[in-house]
Amino acid sequence: MYKYILKRILIAIPVLIGITIIDYVIMCMAGSPLAMMQGPRVSEAALEAKKIALGLDQPVYIQYFVWLGQLLHGNLGYSIKSYQPVSEMIASHLGPTLLLMGVSLIVSLILAVPSGIYSAIHQYEKGDYAVVTMSFLGSSIPGFFLSLLLIYVFTVKLGWLPSSGMTTLGTAGSAGDVAAHMVMPVLVLSFSMAGSNIRYIRSAVLEILQQDYLRTAKAKGIGRFRVINKHALRNALVPIVTVIGMEIPMLFGGAVIIEQVFSWPGLGLMTMSAISSRDYPVIMGVCLLSAVVVLVANLVTDILYALVDPTISLN
């Protein structure tokens, strides 16, 4: 077991280094941030001084190693635009994003797990068709379109929910206020995630229902309820663990667009503005953070998977 975990970690390390290299190469292709400052009011000498101050006169690979060295000291660099440390910027935007992601993850599981299991148990019945059709709708509707529809209905027509930000402007923002702002983004994120997850859980449970041990359990005559709750659900834990692992990268991506639409003050909104102003250190920081999170999520999923399902071979 330890050997397995160690092996997974060892595989993850070169991937992580590769990620930083790809990241850096992409950023270098993006063009110089100096181009954004250029203008009739900025002299050549000032640009040159700026270039040296930012270390942009060094060759690319040296810039990379300097950055990597700083990284190992926990320093992600400074934003070219606002001169704030990147780590500080990320830290201040991380809270709202984690809140949004966490709640969406929980809501999507609450939606997906029972309906996936329900539709597997009632395969080819009306309820199953309804659930599967809804799940297809969930994975086919663009998040931003669903957001616009919700805003149209709940903000414009009914006036029930606020459509932008995290708190009402000018107030300190009570928990209820934040919750009201969260309803629509969470709905959109969890609906689209639940879409693919329902089908995944459904087919996994269908497979479990065909196993011999379930037939044995049924033959013992312990009743439908206990067959499903005692024998089927416990084994359904394996696909559910996988689903949680798959959701984390999806959440990170989905949050970028949803945060943009709802002006949610999180990492996604910060990243979009960094992308438009070519603020490399910030983009690099966010990409690195999210890649690390995804890697760790995959690692944890693999390990949990091995723990939950003893039949998985460890080599």
């Binding site: 595989i11 790809i22 994975s139 086919s140 379109f145 616009l148 149209y152 983009i283």
Partner: protein, 290 residues
Amino acid sequence: MEQKKKKDITNESYLQTVFRRFRRHRLAMVSLVLLTVLVGAAILAPWIAPYDPNAIVGTFSGAPCPEHWLGTDQIGRDVLSRLLYAMRISLLVGVLATLISTVIGVMLGLVAGYFGGIPDMIIMRFTDMVMSFPYILLVLVAAAIFRPGLWNIILILGFVDWPGIARLVRGNVLNLRETNFVKGSIVSGMPVRHILFSEILPNTVAPILVYATSVLALSMLDEAALSFLGQGVQPPTASLGNMLNGAQSLTVLTTQPWLWIPAGLLIVILVMAINFIGDALRDALDPNSR
């Protein structure tokens, strides 16, 4: 039901079997018809669109009326005509991006699975790297760098979507390598090219096809999202995503729903139809199902 089962299916060809199974999926049949109609409309857009999509032909932001079934946009272009052309662009992006990523994924998967060892390790670690980046973030950064535009979007989506296919193909190749007919060919000294493309590839086409439908659906969604954010297909070329871009302004969102709801619904219908067809294909092509 009993009646149908008695029908003789012993002499059926493979394609007939697949089609017979496909037809059992009602929603997929409906989707197939719908998709055929929509794709037909998109291809025939220059002939059936009532107006030139980029010409100013009516009042600004006119509501739907008999001359303009879906109204006119902010600068007086006919929304229905733009919608038809937008569908063309969105389908083009989806199909080409899917083709590119499928070719890349299949090639890398074949090489990694068949040769194993160091090439396998390098390719799979590279796949892991690409997969670790949150997908949308990667596409957004790439779109910002390479200047948004139709062809760049196609290339970016094509070069980002392949890891799933590569993994799938590699897995299948690993299984097929252990089969007797492939082992036989290796022993008898058949050229690698023949084994890869004439023996292994045809046996893994079915799962690739199924996977490609989901890539098609995803890349159409991504194009829409990118264009919606202004990082995708650029105006005046209409795409389903950038037609929704206007809905970020409050007046359009609240008082001119004909400008954004039809485009959004069309994306949902197209993507959903593709997903249903993919689902039915998965069942129909699965050799383990009856």
